[in-house]
Amino acid sequence: MKKTWFKWAALGVPVLVIAGCATYPDPATTRRVAEKMVNESFTAPAPALLKRLAQDKSQQICSKIGGAQLTQEEAAEVARLARASIKYPPSGKLVGDWKRGDKLAHDGAGDRIQRGRLEKRKENGGLCQNCHALAPGEINVGNVGPSLTGYGLQRGTSDSIAKLTYERIYNAWAYSPCSNMPRLGATGHLTPEQITHMVAYLIDPQSPVNKK
């Protein structure tokens, strides 16, 4: 008790002054402080993996504090960058195998880092079931994103629908800047070929998504 009193008395004046002058840092200072923390607070089995923490231009725009609105210019910029990022499979065929898409849509694993190891499997899962309802009757499905049940039934199987679906999965921000949906193709989480299978899973009339 006595020691504490002495310590506080010694620090007394400067501490009081600091307390009295405590201010909230401005956004630029906060950004600098926080980014320094990011650089110092993570580990990974390989230095290249630490790059996952770096933000690209779109992510920076889309990280608005408190869910603040994008300006028109910002939204346009994010959409433009997203559209420019879209790559199609070399074959040009955007609709693959719905059976493979079915597997991918229900696969939430792949590419995570734990205890110094990277979770490397044959391919990354599509993660769809985590956030979206898919085939009717499935219970274990999320609702962070809109339901995709009956996707093909509602939209048909035209080339333009296939292209739209492909692009939305590849980079959803081309259509909805800063959407909560990951830019699965653009970030490299999924390959163009994988996305074609997911397109098929969504629009093929034989797919469980479009069964009653």
Binding site: T4, I18, T23, A44, L50, A54, S63, K64, T187, H189
Partner: protein
């Protein structure tokens, strides 16, 4: 004649039959109430208490001289004011990093060892840190979260935590807000707490440490943050790192007023 009890479901049903009143229309709510009333996590409170008062480490001392912000060994209400600034380390610290400080400086443990053992493997008998964090937090059960931001570093930490909550990165383009920014959302069948609402963030800050049913051990906020970054496909969040303390400061301050009730129960 020995009774053969087939499983936990059997004993649970035994209970259900006799102790549940007529309005048992929602079985999930009944189940949650049962888990809240008889949470295996409570077994670790005694364990944490024993560890706290036991003379341990190379220096053979207990943690009674550890200052959690209200004076050495003063535990009632201490966790409700964390994270906070500590003059002796000149840092803002949460409960777990403060325990690390004391285990190293008072008891003589090596920092790397304490951190390496802090999070136990699932299905084990749990780590010392998990038991201690639960015990100390339980000493504030019934008390309200009461974090203040008076010191400059506390305000910086809070603002950094807010910034980080909304910071998106990695191949998932996730920041915390992507999953925790809306009401009534879930990933598969796991409900997502709406942390940008007062009610949601109060639920978060009042129920950690918690018994994680699937892991059979008590888990802490440090573990929870680590696990979020894991599934966001981001690198590993270091234990007691500044990012973890910043996020905890942000959430705890936002959750001020929440009444502590630990151990919580998670799936």
């Amino acid at each position: 004649m020995p009774n053969l009890l087939g499983g936990i479901a059997a004993s649970a049903l035994l209970f259900l039959a006799v102790s549940v009143p007529a309005q048992a229309a929602d079985p999930l709510a009944v189940g949650r109430q049962m888990l809240a009333e008889d949470n295996p996590g409570e077994l670790w409170i005694e364990k944490g208490k024993t560890l706290f008062y036991e003379k341990r480490g190379p220096r053979g001392v207990s943690l009674e001289q550890c200052d959690f912000g209200m004076g050495p060994g003063k535990l009632e209400g201490a966790s409700t004011r964390l994270p906070r600034y500590f003059p002796d380390t000149d840092k803002v610290q949460d409960l777990e990093s403060r325990l690390v400080t004391c285990m190293v400086q008072l008891q003589g443990f090596k920092r790397e060892d304490v951190i390496r053992r802090a999070i136990s493997p699932g299905g084990s008998s749990g780590s010392d840190m998990e038991a201690l964090a639960l015990y100390i937090t339980s000493r504030s059960n019934g008390m309200k979260m009461n974090v203040s931001l008076n010191h400059q570093k506390e305000r910086e930490m809070y603002k950094a935590g807010e910034y980080l909550f909304f910071r998106r990165s990695g191949q998932t383009d996730f920041g915390c807000v992507q999953c925790h920014g809306d009401a009534n959302k879930r990933i598969r069948l796991q409900d997502l707490i709406h942390m940008t609402s007062k009610q949601g963030v109060q639920e978060v800050v009042s129920t950690w440490p918690a018994y994680r049913g699937a892991h059979y051990v008590v888990r802490t906020m440090q573990w929870r943050l680590y696990d979020c970054f894991w599934q966001m496909r981001l690198p590993e969040l270091a234990y007691a790192s500044d990012v973890s303390i910043a996020l905890t400061t942000y959430l705890h301050y936002q959750g001020n007023g929440a009444v502590t009730r630990v151990p919580g129960f998670k799936r």
